[in-house]
Assembly symmetry: D2
């Protein structure tokens, strides 16, 4: 995969917790894989759980991922992240994860994910939800395939 064209590649954030159920991990892997196949740049928080499985799916489908980390060390990123970014901001990096994407897919998730959902809405980003917080304004998807399709439709709408 060529790095040139990185700048114009559409960006989708995948948010979700460190300790999700097995079905959410599988969904995260599949979402990452599909995003890679569509040539999108995966944005995530760079750590474990949903973040790692999405990055692994992306990596194994030859895609690229950018991980926005809470701490000061790039080593903190899971091993599938291509572009780790350290912030040293702790949980305050959550706003940056969604700020850097055109659309957000939320999978499962605890209160960290809830803060990202809130920031995504503050910044006016659409959020597609897979088995996540029942927040008003979120668009529910029933499968990874549907979630990625909805994300692509939103990117198309924004870019037209």
């Amino acid at each position: 995969m060529k790095a040139k064209g990185l700048r114009s590649r559409p960006r989708v954030a995948v948010i979700g917790g460190n300790r999700p159920e097995a079905s959410s991990l599988r969904a995260a892997y599949r979402v990452g894989q599909l995003l890679a196949e569509k040539g999108l740049l995966l944005i995530c928080g760079g750590l474990g759980g949903v973040m790692e499985e999405a990055a692994r799916g992306c990596h194994e489908a030859d895609g690229l991922s950018l991980g926005i980390l809470p701490g000061k060390s790039l080593e903190e990123a899971n091993k599938f992240i291509d572009i780790p970014v350290a912030t040293g901001m702790g949980y305050n990096r959550n706003s940056m994860v969604v700020l850097n994407a055109e659309v957000v897919i939320a999978i499962d998730g605890e209160y960290g994910t809830l803060s990202e959902i809130a920031f995504a809405r503050i910044f006016g980003k659409k959020i597609i939800g897979l088995n996540t917080w029942p927040i008003e304004g979120l668009i529910r998807a029933n499968s990874p395939e549907e979630a990625v399709e909805l994300a692509l439709a939103e990117i198309k709408r924004i870019r037209e």
Copy 2:
């Protein structure tokens, strides 16, 4: 009111939106008033709506309030805030509002308030809700009086 003793004064954050319904504004005023009467320090985001009414209630009952502002200017604070603190962090100041309190009272609120609820839970703070987001883990109160009573009970529990 003496300033000495400021350090040990228990802190309660009141969070809520800029444009709430009239009933929420009345609740915020009453909560601020009750916190002042109990000798608590009110923490809030320092701007309008719920934040301003809570600060006004506190001010008129001779209490003290600390407002953690998104921008760079202290002038941004509503006129009832005693101790404005500028952050220059925009929406990222939301985490600081709840970080500085022992317990949180949420009244009404939009996505900014939702991010504060999420951060309060991340930081392990109890949240008492008055007509706000139906988030798991929040304790519902039916009146400003009940909300402040629950907040006092939580402070007592923490400090014992």
Copy 3:
């Protein structure tokens, strides 16, 4: 000392390192004392060294101090701080220390202090230096008395 009037009290930040020489600790104590005598609110980073001695001087002269802390716990503040504010931002809280003051007094200091000097200049604040970094744009003072006099003159200039 009355807490009412807190909002309008002029604010002076005292910045400096955790491990300064004894002469700088004495200067910090004296600056804190003089700020209290003039009725100013002392702003600092809330930790040890210059920050603690300035806060102690202020405290013992019946003044008030606000400490903007790097971590998440108010306990982190030295025991002379009246109003601790937790940020959870680590070194990024340095910008906030100077943002909240009308004028800055720098005493000794290492790289953390240098970052605060830089931010003070970015925000257009005057800095008065006592045995600190030889940065262009800093006004040198030869004693705590002169430093506080220069700070008062700057506040007068701003407020007129």
Copy 4:
């Protein structure tokens, strides 16, 4: 240039002002070019002046650059940045620019650059200076070639 291998590519931050002298702009361009030729990832603040010229030199030599932006929009990045990252943190993003590099090259610069120099030292990063602030602890270079050589030597030292 292949994107795979992005993760392990050594990172050099180039810091400097928005409005430098012509000779500093030429030096920045040349540094960017050399970093690209050596296969390094350029990290910068993503805006104009030194940041833009370094990114242009890098881009025209087929390298890759990551720009850490103060605002909320990726559009803010100069057109030579391959990987813009929005922070919404204003000047507080300065710490992140140096946090993400193994070594820092400072060219010219005003107070924003001074804050980055301070943060680089706080984080224990070496700084190589080209016509910049005369700060203790900075290593002076006399040409872009020497600056990049010193940066490479430091990366070699760290990675061995």
